[in-house]
């Protein structure tokens, strides 16, 4: 709809349009309703939960009221809108009158009783509630929006509960449904409806009670961000009844209402909800929020009480449905004077301090709270647009990329694992059952990706957690968006492979010079027992220079036997059975080899490197089993197949045109594909001072799902920092979890399709990624398009399923499912934009672009992404053309992040970056999970010389100070402070010249600033409060990531100061614009 474009004044009118639209849809649903209802009804009956007792009176009343509501809604709307703006007592008064329409019998009671008694504040609250209840969505849209974008994720579990039957809960301990709302209002209400917590009471209350709950939120809402949930909770029930009246005319309110109404009732609801309507319940009621967990609860509570229709509904009602009803807070809001944070647009040129002082959180999808609670953790699964546009046209208009960022194998502290003989999947699209499917009744469920109706298998009826039969909707599979299955034998093409590790070392003269072999052998020796595996673990070693050396570790040998193959044209494997040996049975021999290996080649004069033949040999050795090859290489491969020539010309680095980002040979790619076919992954450790053509070598890892590590200018004496880095990273590499012979499939709701994949893997068929190895530090991204319009779908879902063999030899499937709402207006699309995910996806796309076209093309594309989206926003969403550079609140950091990308090693121009380093950064962009990619792109800066315990976290009796994040600009630095820059894989602590003596001596442990050593990388553990705080903070940062960032302590004269300053993204550098200049450039382009 074109609503957003209209000036705010006309808001009412066009919102009216919206309303009509929704009304129509409602009507339609209505018609549909009966049939489904009947279905539901019957099913419910079958359940036999004993909710037989219904409140007839209510039903009859409500039914009629509801239907008429739609037509009449126009009139009410105005009132509603007024209320909203006022949010005051008056407002409440008005609203109070209104509600009765919806709730005929009950309403009056509540109002009278509650309102008078309440204190002034409470009155407010009451009023608000009433109003909120009537149009909660509308009234609080601001709140909602705030919530969405709020920095503080909503933490209101109770809110949702209120939705259901909050009151009842409060009163009746037995009912789990209750929200546990402790508001006076609630309690009060209880008193009103003494006796039993009949459903009616609870029912009515929803309107009322919730209000109290909401109240704080509501009042606070402009400043604070009240979670969506609460308003809904309170409101939704009421909303439906009263909402219709409110609806149409009201500019701001109506739309939300519409949406909410439509969503809740109409769109999603195919089944049960509608039943309710028929039954005469308030629409609000039908609000299908019962989470699975609660369904039960409702039923038990009932016995004594009159089980009302509510519960009735609740019981049968499949929990997933709530999901369908998403709250849309829509753009109609523009007319409102109260603009919620999320809907606000920001003039970037005026607001200099837009960087939040706490880490940016992923936006929370605008789903009903019960659904959102089940949704996948954003660290695992993230979408660039948390409001999915309904059509490709809308997506094109928004000029934002649509895609997913995944971190599927992340180390999780809690992961439900299900062992079951049958894994329930959709029969047509093979989707795993997940929390967002809907249960039509107990025996049938409807797939949320392809909408096919499937039978629930007999075994699935029994819930192993509660040991109850007949509640498939409460099984762990339906309660967890992230779950792991133990796969039965159907999921194996062959018996699960043993863990097999093969190490391939470069031992040419150059390699021995760097001394890496000592570090690697020692680290390997120390971690030999920690290698993930079981009694079947196998291990082997190959070394190479211009020839290839194998090591026979046959049982019975007194020491390892070296076998040299000098025919590198046609590599063969001597005695294949003794080269890969069981780790446990031959441990002594292996340790022996690792101890002697560093000394074996010290006199070698061989400078050639036959990497290609060595890889071929490794592949041949591994192909019967599959496994992991770790290659250590220190120079350009120079003999045999796969030899490369130096392509870097240092004096041409400046021109971004002629650099070689594409591989020069297809040898490594072909070999990688062969490896992939045999379930072998190759990880490359490149430790090189000179150009080694990582662009070509990297292919071996990229297509075999390995990882690339690069240690520029590694040397055991000259570069101790790299040595420590290698040690730490190698330790992590050796001991981290690993999955073998894995495949990952990403499915999405019909209508969406994936068209591009980013990451290290081979795409075997349209949606199947072949991952010979999968590790917990790898991230993936995909781009999507909307193939068919998503009409009539309130939500869409995405599911990634990773099938792998664990190091213990078990076949497992890890499934993540995410559910997101669909929106129809451009404003909503912008509202749900996730700026970090967008930046991450754009970075991936830019890497592709620089390889396929050129670096300058990629840079232009990045800048254009900002210009296009902001000008689309300006021309299509903003009603009033204001001067300046306007950006939606959700995208306020977009220009900054893109500027950070442009200044990142992968995409920067200038002569100071080596080709290999650039390519390595590109590999990282493709392979790192989003959080680390963002840290790498836009580091966090903290001031650490004045840490206090104020606002500190307390974890396990440790106090961790939380200093605010500063903007990356030199103007934020002061000479008398010390600053910590956290760039993900590296940290810098810059100490100012006039830094307090206190900090220098108490934290750094040196007498004065001048005596800070040049290469300080460790903080001494001192017995002072300052030292404890600083160390606690730094180690807390380190604990959050799987790798070990090295801390460099630098002062003004340090050579590393330039790396520190290079990360000052908002400042101008010789070849790049400052943030402000960048904004001006964008503004110029946008206003063209």
């Amino acid at each position: 709809v074109h609503g957003p474009k209209l000036p705010s004044i006309s808001g009412a009118v066009h919102s009216g349009n919206f309303f009509l639209g929704t009304a129509l849809t409602l009507g339609r649903f209505f018609l549909l309703g009966p049939v489904q209802n009947s279905l539901m009804h019957s099913s419910q009956m079958l359940d036999g939960q004993g909710f037989g007792s219904t409140v007839p009176g209510l039903y009859s009343h409500q039914i009629p009221t509801k239907v008429p509501v739609h037509p009449s809604s126009g009139q009410y709307n105005f009132g509603g809108s007024q209320n909203v703006s006022l949010l005051s007592n008056q407002g409440s008064g008005q609203t109070l009158n209104r509600p009765p329409a919806g709730l005929i019998s009950m309403a009056p009671l509540q109002h009278t009783s509650s309102v008078p008694q309440m204190l002034p504040p409470s009155q407010n609250s009451a009023a608000i509630p009433s109003s909120s209840s009537s149009f909660v969505p509308g009234a609080y849209p601001p709140a909602l929006s705030n919530w969405q974008y709020g920095q503080t994720p909503m933490s209101q579990p109770t809110g949702s509960q209120t939705n259901h039957f909050a009151h009842v809960a409060g009163t009746l301990p037995t009912q789990p449904l209750s929200s546990g709302s402790t508001n006076p209002a609630t309690s009060y209400q209880y008193t009103v409806s003494p006796g039993g917590p009949p459903l009616q009471n609870s029912y009515m209350k929803p309107g009322f009670v919730p209000p109290p709950v909401n109240r704080p939120l509501a009042s606070a809402f402009p400043p604070a961000r009240p979670p969506l949930g609460p308003p809904q909770a309170g409101g939704p029930p009421l909303v439906r009844p009263s909402a219709p009246p409110v609806g149409p005319p009201n500019s701001s309110l109506p739309q939300p209402l519409l949406n909410s109404a439509a969503n809740q009732e109409g769109k999603g609801l195919i089944n049960s909800v509608y039943l309710n309507l028929k039954m005469g319940r308030n629409v609000g009621y039908s609000y299908p929020t019962l989470p699975p967990g609660y369904q039960n609860a409702s039923s038990p509570g009932a016995p004594g009480m009159q089980s009302s229709p509510l519960q009735y509904q609740a019981g049968p009602q499949p929990f997933p449905q709530p999901a369908l009803g998403t709250n849309h807070i829509t753009g109609s809001m523009s007319g409102l004077s109260l603009q919620p944070e999320g809907l606000r647009s920001i003039n970037l040129l005026q607001e200099r301090n837009i960087l939040p002082t706490t880490p940016l959180q992923a936006p929370v999808p605008n789903l009903h709270e019960e659904i959102q609670k089940l949704n996948c953790n954003p660290e695992l699964f993230r979408c660039t647009l948390t409001n999915i546009p309904q059509t490709q046209a809308l997506l094109n208009k928004a000029k934002l990329p649509l895609g997913l960022l995944l971190h599927p194998f992340k180390d999780l502290s809690q992961l439900p694992v299900v062992t079951s003989s049958t894994i329930v999947r959709c029969r047509s699209c093979r989707t795993y059952i997940n929390p967002f499917v809907s249960f039509l009744d107990q025996r049938r469920w409807k797939c949320n990706l392809c909408y096919r109706v499937n039978d629930v298998p007999e075994e699935f009826m029994y819930n192993p957690v509660t040991r109850v039969y007949g509640e498939p909707h409460k099984r762990p599979e339906v309660q967890n968006a992230t779950i792991e299955f133990m796969a039965p034998s159907e999921y194996m093409l062959r018996p699960p492979q043993p863990p097999v590790y093969l190490f391939v070392f470069d031992v040419s003269h150059n390699a021995i010079e760097t001394g890496y072999l000592t570090t690697v052998s020692k680290t390997l020796l120390d971690n030999l027992d920690l290698l993930p595996g079981n009694t079947r673990t196998k291990i082997g070693f190959i070394t190479f220079d211009s020839t290839i050396h194998f090591y026979s570790l046959q049982e019975g040998l007194s020491q390892p036997q070296m076998l040299i193959v000098s025919d590198i044209e046609d590599v063969f494997i001597p005695m294949p059975e003794n080269l890969l040996v069981n780790l446990n049975e031959n441990k002594e021999l292996i340790q022996d080899l690792l101890r002697t290996l560093p000394q074996m080649f010290t006199k070698s004069l061989e400078t050639q490197s036959a990497l290609g033949p060595a890889l071929q040999a490794a592949f041949k050795l591994m192909s019967p089993t599959g496994g992991r090859i770790s290659v250590f290489q220190t120079q350009l491969p120079s003999v045999g197949v796969g030899s490369l020539k130096s392509r870097e010309e240092p004096n041409q680095r400046a021109s971004a045109k002629d650099i070689h980002l594409t591989p020069s040979t297809d040898f490594y790619k072909k070999l990688a594909l062969d490896c992939s076919g045999q379930q072998v992954a190759v990880d490359l450790f490149l430790l090189s001072g000179q150009y080694s053509d990582l662009a070509s070598l990297g292919c071996i890892s990229r297509y075999s799902a390995g990882s690339v590590y690069y240690y520029q200018s590694y040397h055991h004496q000259h570069n101790p920092v790299q040595v420590e880095k290698l040690q730490k990273e190698l330790k992590r590499y050796l001991t981290r979890k690993i999955g073998f012979e894995a495949v990952m499939r990403i499915r999405c709701t019909k209508g969406l399709s994936i068209h591009t994949f980013h990451g290290n893997f081979f795409v075997r068929s349209t949606d199947l990624l072949s991952l010979p190895n999968v590790n917990p530090d790898a991230g993936y991204a995909v781009q999507m398009s909307v193939e068919e319009s998503l009409t009539d779908m309130p939500v869409v879902s995405f599911q990634s399923a990773l099938l792998y063999t664990s190091s213990k030899g078990e076949r497992r499937i890890r499934v993540h499912t995410m559910c997101l709402p669909v929106v129809t207006t451009l404003n909503d699309v912008y509202l749900g934009a996730d700026v970090q995910a967008i930046t991450g996806l754009l970075a991936n796309m830019a890497v592709d672009r620089s390889v396929s076209a050129s670096l300058s093309d990629a840079r232009d594309a990045l800048v254009n992404a900002v210009i296009d989206s902001l000008s689309a926003y300006r021309s299509s969403v903003l009603s009033i053309q204001q001067p300046g550079l306007m950006a939606p609140y959700s995208l306020r950091l977009f220009p900054l992040h893109v500027l950070a990308l442009l200044k990142q090693k992968a995409f920067q121009t200038g002569t100071n970056i080596r080709l290999d380093e650039r390519i390595f950064t590109m590999c990282q962009v493709k392979n790192q999970p989003l959080i680390f990619l963002m840290l790498m792109t836009h580091p966090n800066l903290y001031r650490v010389d004045n840490l206090t315990d104020e606002g500190a976290l307390n974890i396990n009796d440790r106090t961790i100070p939380q200093p605010p994040i500063l903007q990356l600009s030199v103007e934020k630095l002061s000479r008398d402070g010390a600053y910590l820059m956290d760039a993900g894989s590296v940290m810098f602590m810059w100490v100012g010249k006039n830094c307090g003596q206190n900090f220098v001596s108490q934290v750094l442990g040196v007498p004065s600033y001048v005596s800070i050593p040049q290469n300080m990388t460790h903080l001494p553990e001192l017995e002072t409060a300052e030292s404890t705080r600083t160390i606690a903070f730094i180690s807390w940062l380190r604990e959050q990531r799987p790798f070990f960032p090295i801390l460099h302590i630098i002062r003004d004269e340090s050579p590393l100061k330039s790396s520190f300053l290079q990360n000052m993204i908002e400042d101008r550098t010789e070849s790049a614009l400052s943030y402000y200049e960048f904004l001006l450039h964008i503004q110029q382009q946008v206003n063209k």
């Binding site: 594409t662 020069s664 297809d666 790619k669 072909k670 594909l673 068209h755 795409v763 068929s765 349209t766």
Partner: protein, 139 residues
């Protein structure tokens, strides 16, 4: 003489039509997941050069025999074939690269290209047929 030229062109064109159909079938197999990207691409890459040669021969033949209209019709397509073959990046496994084919809608564009070529060759087929009959009658 002219009839010989057209008989040859006709045969060559038939081969090209079959080749286009083969491309379409193989690509749609990939689309439907009947074969994997690796085998699909190695099958197709084998036929890229024969197709290029087959088409270039006809084009050159038309130039030599001075059939300007048919030559101009064929010229852009032949140029495109050669351009596509030459522009394959050094790291790729051929015109059809298994690691790229599922990205950025390449599969669709390959499909579209094969369809267009099929149409073009069918058109040429009838043109050659007509010219051949005309030439035979004139003889």
């Amino acid at each position: 003489m002219e009839s010989v030229v057209f008989v040859f062109s006709l045969i060559d064109c038939c081969a090209l039509i079959f080749l286009s159909v083969y491309f379409i079938i193989t690509l749609s197999d990939l689309e439907c997941d009947y074969i994997n990207a690796r085998s699909c691409c190695s099958k197709l890459n084998k036929w890229v050069v024969p197709e290029l040669i087959g088409h270039t021969i006809v084009t050159v033949l038309m130039l030599i025999s001075l059939h300007w209209f048919i030559f101009l019709l064929n010229f852009p397509v032949a140029t495109w074939n050669i351009y596509r073959f030459i522009m394959v990046p050094s790291g790729n496994l051929g015109v059809f690269d298994p690691t790229e084919i599922h990205n950025r809608g390449q599969l669709k564009s390959h499909m579209k290209e094969a369809m267009i070529k099929l149409g073009f060759h069918l058109l040429c087929f009838f043109m050659y047929l007509y010219s051949m009959i005309l030439a035979l009658i004139n003889d």
